[in-house]
């Protein structure tokens, strides 16, 4: 009756893989939220906006760098707009420019050091350089199509 599934060892690997992400993500997210009121996704969006000089970007380009579905981004931006973190400016009736607002930039700057500290404490400082290297390499491998 019971068809073939993963072997016990494979299951352990799978669970380890799942847990790894959830743990760290949760901790970093909570750290930012507690200290600044920003959520993880919000911080992510704001960072990318600020990363390019002007703090503004076409919505589609933003979706691409975030590796996000356009719908997901649209919903997220709507919420962030209501919270005053970003604005939408219509470039030509079709294209939307997402613009970092002043409050958005301020919250981002406030969150930066918290985020950095948390990422180091919860991830980077716990790993050897070789392990960090493996993470990056593995991430690239797993990101490929196919």
């Amino acid at each position: 009756m019971s068809t073939k599934g993963l072997s016990p060892h494979e299951v352990r690997v799978w669970h380890a893989f799942l847990l790894m992400g959830e743990d760290v993500l949760g901790r970093v997210g909570r750290d930012i939220a507690q200290a600044t009121g920003l959520s993880g996704p919000e911080f992510g969006v704001l960072s990318r906006l600020a990363a390019i000089g002007k703090g503004e970007m076409r919505q589609q380009a933003l979706a691409r760098v975030m590796t996000w579905d356009k719908s997901r981004l649209s919903h997220q931006l709507t919420r962030m707009q209501q919270r005053g973190l970003i604005e939408r400016r219509y470039a030509n009736g079709k294209t939307v420019l997402v613009v970092l607002t002043k409050p958005g930039r301020e919250k981002l700057e406030a969150a930066r050091p918290i985020h950095a500290e948390s990422v180091r404490r919860n991830l980077l400082s716990r790993l050897t350089p070789e392990q960090v290297d493996t993470i990056v390499r593995v991430s690239n491998l797993l990101g490929e199509e196919g």
Copy 2:
């Protein structure tokens, strides 16, 4: 003005780490859902229930093995109960026994090979044994408190 955040290299590592989880999780989840109608979380719950002989477990124990918040589990079980995948049986007015139903077990068995194939294709087969080993080791490191 711009306070210290992560260095460019640190940011790359962080993004790699984020992406790694999202990619694989998404793919495996979609594979299971398309083939069997079960979601990732549903498959997870059903697997753990089946993992111990009887297919039933105290809710709190289930929460512990899943590393899930009791609230999260309660919500998830409510949905799964409505879909007929599990039942709740009251052991003593306070303690809840979560029980795998027949349809639940059937869907689980149908999903097992799909899940296994997908995990192998999207994760295991892409990595060297050393990389797999590092994943497990890193997951343990990152799971620790503090």
